[in-house]
């Protein structure tokens, strides 16, 4: 089946691995039922087959919404966007969000990159919000980094 | 053999300010930096080691190695790394020992980042006079360019239930003694009675 538009799930669909395996695919498009021992032994599976897809995260976000957890759902939507970002860059972005690690301009650049390169508007909004608060609370990188005094 | 004369009265110390702390030029000195409440608001560490004894032993460890000790008091912070690093940059050898009132101690060097250190003794309840002597001795050996074996650090899982809250309390009190905006001052230790005559 093609995955658009995503079905409207209710709490009764949980756990998806048991109740709705038909909706679950690996990043390479294999159905979750293809993750068998035979496939492991024959070398058909690679580590990327064991990653979660953005579509699945959107489904879990629906479940979170359906069970009254909007913040958790928002987290899953940010996560869905982040699946496209390579591991090293995810860590680099995290480090850039630490206090006094980035200038306002650098954070704005990061938000742009999230939006343009990774189509991640929800993550970008989080970064812009951080930039605004950091600016107000003196948590942006200072022009001359001198930790001496 | 006879036993030593342990009944000598407990030594005391007071710190006399002699002016703003200056950068030293002698390569054979170690600067000992004391926290705002050391030998002032407080007189002993978290486990009742008298500050007089902490200071005597640190200084003795340095002197025994043929190195000179200089004392400063840092007034504007109670953060051990900041105290120690300030002192390291005042030290002619670049080596310092920083001490908090509760006993927590650190050996620092001027070229290190402030949050780093050469040796750190975080478990103040486990520091006694012999350990302070070894810390002084090691600091002096670093000043001489030697390679001392690090002072063995001890650990005790049950220090948490016994000392964690008191340590926090002492830390808060030390914070109260901070004099914001005052630079480090050079001090002289004046030891009270105790020396057998």
């Amino acid at each position: 089946m093609s995955a658009q538009p995503p079905p409207e799930l209710t709490a009764a669909d949980y756990p998806l691995s048991i109740n709705r395996p038909d909706l679950l695919r690996t990043p390479s498009g294999k159905p979750i039922t293809a993750l068998t021992m035979d496939a492991v032994v024959s070398g058909e599976l690679s580590a990327t087959d064991l990653r979660i897809t953005p579509e699945t995260l959107q489904l879990q976000a629906q479940l979170a919404d359906a069970s009254g957890r909007p913040q958790l759902a928002a987290n899953f939507r940010r996560a869905a966007e982040m699946t496209a970002i390579p591991d090293a860059e995810v860590l680099a972005m995290y480090n850039a969000l630490r206090p006094r690690a980035s200038t306002g301009a650098a954070l704005e650049e990061m938000a742009d990159r999230l939006e343009r390169t990774y189509s991640a508007p929800v993550c970008a909004a989080l970064v812009r919000e951080a930039a605004e608060v950091y600016g107000r609370r003196d948590l942006l990188a200072r022009p001359v980094a001198d930790s001496d005094q | 053999m006879t036993t030593p004369t342990t009944t000598a009265p407990e030594r005391t110390v007071s710190l006399r300010e002699v002016g703003p702390a200056r950068r030293g030029t002698r390569p054979d000195e170690v600067v000992i930096a004391l926290s705002p409440a050391f030998a002032g608001h407080f007189t002993k560490t978290i486990v009742d080691v008298p500050h007089a004894e902490v200071l005597r032993q640190l200084m003795a460890g340095i002197e025994e190695q043929g190195v000179t000790a200089r004392l400063v008091r840092v007034l504007d912070t109670a953060d051990l790394a900041a105290i120690s690093h300030t002192a390291a940059r005042l030290s002619g050898s670049g080596i310092s020992v920083g001490v908090l009132s509760r006993g927590t101690t650190m050996i620092h060097q001027k070229d290190l980042p402030r949050l780093s250190n050469l040796e750190l003794f975080p478990q103040s309840p486990l520091l006694d006079a012999p350990v302070f002597r070894m810390i002084g001795s090691n600091a002096a050996q670093y000043a001489k360019g030697e390679s001392p074996q690090p002072v063995p650090t001890r650990n005790d899982q049950m220090a948490r239930p016994r000392w964690q809250a008191k340590a926090a309390l002492l830390h808060l009190k030390e914070f109260d003694c901070i004099e914001a905006g005052r630079g480090p001052v050079e001090v002289e230790a004046v030891f009270g009675p105790g020396t057998a005559g």
Partner: protein
């Protein structure tokens, strides 16, 4: 590398596999019908199990698959896997301390504290500090201070006694207080401190305390006649105290107490015999006779048939264990047992070393460098299970597998692909447990030997001589050059050059002797200076690898004459060491030998010699057959 540009080379795919003591290497090549070779790739993995046993199969398959994967070939395309005939070799190490220094009656304190106090010589009667108050003026006194005395109190007590007329001429302290006390005295005296067992210093005895100026050593107590002068000794007594003087040589401070029968002795510890069978003889040698004597006897028992040590000693236990391990690994279900007679120690290497040990009877934790003998032994059996490995590899891969040649010959064949070498050629394989040599004469005859002792023995010598007690650190000292971190921004290399760094070095290496690993400097926890560590490292390598290189080459050289060798190629893991190849080359140079680290196939360095040798031998057979067919 191959001649076939532009398309896949024609011919049959073969894999040479060398199962060594620690690594298994594969060499993948296409052999054309005319015997020409196109090399496709190599691979290297850890050997699984003891060399020459069925456990090797797993590692062999892994190396083969690795080489195939790199060349983009599949197992189904392989025509033949060629394995080396490898004889299982197991080696062991043991160390026996053979001397012991004993001080009796607390005669001497010679631990050399780093910071004694004062300067000069003081001779007087030993008195406890607690009794100084009752001391009459006149008689010279050496004051003994037990634990628990504060330095300020000691100084005050001594000053008071001197003021009362007591002639205090020296002091002996338990704590590390000598400088502190002397700085506070009104009348300077020599002070020795850190005497941990100070309560054992005999009181009421005549004693001498000597402290030299910083950077100097004592002159009186380390001189037998100085002692005779101080204590008014006759010639017989002087002879008795001469070991004391010797023991104090080189110290900055010392104390000697004159007691009725006090003495310092250097005792030899009997550690049992080594029994060597060989050349139709049974020879015995005491292990405590030292390495030179042992190696002389080993030389007389060549070729060695077996060796045994005294049960209950380290050496005896080690030899028995090496033998047992071999018996265990040769014990394969469904195969006939290997007769015990075939499991025998075939070589022994003894090396003199020393072990820092605390002196018995010492008062201050004095440490003496005791003599010790380190022994490496090797057991080898002619009975190999390699055919079984070949069968298992064949089964696992789905391709034919056969024994393609004998290890030593194949190594030589592979080494010949090093640019610039020719027959006669000898190879030295510098491994972890054994050092192997093989020679190929101009006429094509090949001989090979294994001798005991290699990289692991070097590590052990470094570990014990520097008292590191940490094999990881000792390995680091062996593998990497040394340096001294002089500030956070510069370090001095062992050749004296200084390197500046931009990023500050980490605090845990500050002011320390370090090994310069690829991951950055790592501290060596030792009080010794860089030069001492370097000397120990080079000596350990010399005593094992240079000695073994000569020993092994003599065994393969025609008539034992090294001059008959022309090219020596170094192979194996330790051939990658930064100084061992140079040390061996220097030792061989006087014999007119060209010696260097191999570069197999011109690309592989000292690796892959046997595996590529197997391919070469196979190709030679193919070429031979081609010639037969065409003629």
């Amino acid at each position: 590398m191959g001649a076939h540009e532009g398309g896949p080379p024609e011919g049959l795919l073969v894999v040479g596999v060398d199962i060594g003591n620690s690594t298994t290497e594969a060499c993948l090549a296409v052999v054309a019908p005319d015997g020409s070779i196109t090399y496709l790739g190599t691979d290297l993995t850890r050997t699984t199990g003891v060399k020459g046993t069925p456990d090797n199969t797993e590692g062999a398959l892994k190396a083969i698959r690795g080489a195939l994967a790199r060349a983009g070939r599949s197992a189904g395309q392989v025509e033949t896997v060629l394995l080396n005939e490898a004889t299982p070799v197991i080696s062991g190490l043991a160390m026996e301390t053979i001397t012991e220094t004993i001080i009796t009656e607390s005669t001497m304190i010679g631990h050399n504290p780093t910071t004694p106090g004062g300067e000069g010589l003081g001779v007087g009667t030993t008195r406890s500090i607690g009794e100084l108050g009752e001391q009459q003026p006149g008689e010279p006194v050496v004051c003994v201070v037990p634990h628990g005395w504060d330095f300020d109190d000691v100084a005050a007590t001594l000053n008071a006694a001197v003021a009362a007329g007591v002639d205090v001429v020296a002091a002996i302290l338990a704590g590390d207080d000598a400088v502190l006390v002397t700085n506070r005295l009104t009348r300077p005296i020599p002070v020795v401190d850190e005497v941990s067992a100070v309560e054992k210093v005999p009181l009421g005895m005549l004693a001498a305390v000597e402290v030299a100026a910083p950077g100097r050593t004592i002159r009186t107590l380390s001189n037998s006649y100085g002692l005779a002068t101080v204590f008014d000794l006759d010639p017989v007594q002087t002879r008795q105290v001469s070991p004391v003087a010797r023991a104090l040589t080189g110290n900055r401070s010392a104390v000697v107490v004159r007691t009725p029968t006090g003495d310092v002795t250097d005792r030899r510890i009997p550690v049992g015999e080594l029994v060597l069978h060989g050349a139709g003889k049974t020879l015995r040698v005491d292990v405590d006779a030292g390495a030179e004597a042992i190696m002389e006897v080993v030389g007389r028992a060549q070729p060695l048939d077996d060796a045994r040590g005294e049960p209950g000693t380290h050496v005896g236990g080690m030899l028995a264990q090496v033998r047992d391990t071999m018996a265990d690994v040769m014990d394969v279900a469904g195969q006939p047992d290997v007769p015990p007679s075939e499991i025998a120690i075939r070589d022994v290497l003894a090396v003199d070393t020393f072990v820092p040990a605390e002196v018995r009877g010492g008062l201050a934790g004095e440490v003496a460098l005791e003599n010790a003998v380190a022994l490496a032994a090797m057991v080898r059996t002619s009975r190999s299970r390699m055919q079984l490995v070949a069968d298992l590899v064949s089964e696992g891969l789905g391709a034919a597998a056969e024994i393609g040649g004998v290890e030593g010959e194949m190594a030589v064949g592979g080494a010949l692909t090093t640019p610039g070498v020719d027959r006669p050629i000898a190879v030295l394989d510098l491994g972890g447990g054994s050092t192997d040599a093989a020679l190929l004469t101009r006429e094509g005859e090949c001989t090979a030997v294994h001798v005991a002792g290699a990289g692991e023995l070097v590590t052990k010598l470094i570990d014990s001589e520097l008292a590191l007690g940490d094999r990881e650190v000792a390995e680091g000292v062996k593998w990497y050059p040394l340096g001294k971190v002089e500030s956070f921004f510069h370090l001095r290399h062992e050749d004296g050059t200084v390197e500046f760094v931009n990023e500050p070095l980490p605090p845990h290496v500050f002011a320390r002797v370090v090994v310069l690993t690829p991951d950055g400097p790592a501290p060596v926890p030792t009080r010794h200076g860089l030069d001492h560590v370097r000397r120990v490292r080079r000596e350990a390598k010399r005593r094992v690898f240079v000695v073994n290189a000569l020993r092994a080459l003599r065994q393969v050289a025609p008539g034992g004459n090294l001059r008959a060798l022309e090219f020596v190629v170094l192979l194996g893991g330790s051939a990658l060491d930064f100084e061992i190849p140079d040390m061996i080359a220097d030792a061989l140079a006087p014999h007119g030998i060209v010696c260097g680290t191999g570069n197999v196939l011109g690309t592989e360095g000292p690796r892959n010699a046997v595996a590529s040798g197997l391919v070469r031998a196979h190709a030679a057979l193919v070429a031979e057959e081609a010639r037969c067919r065409s003629s």
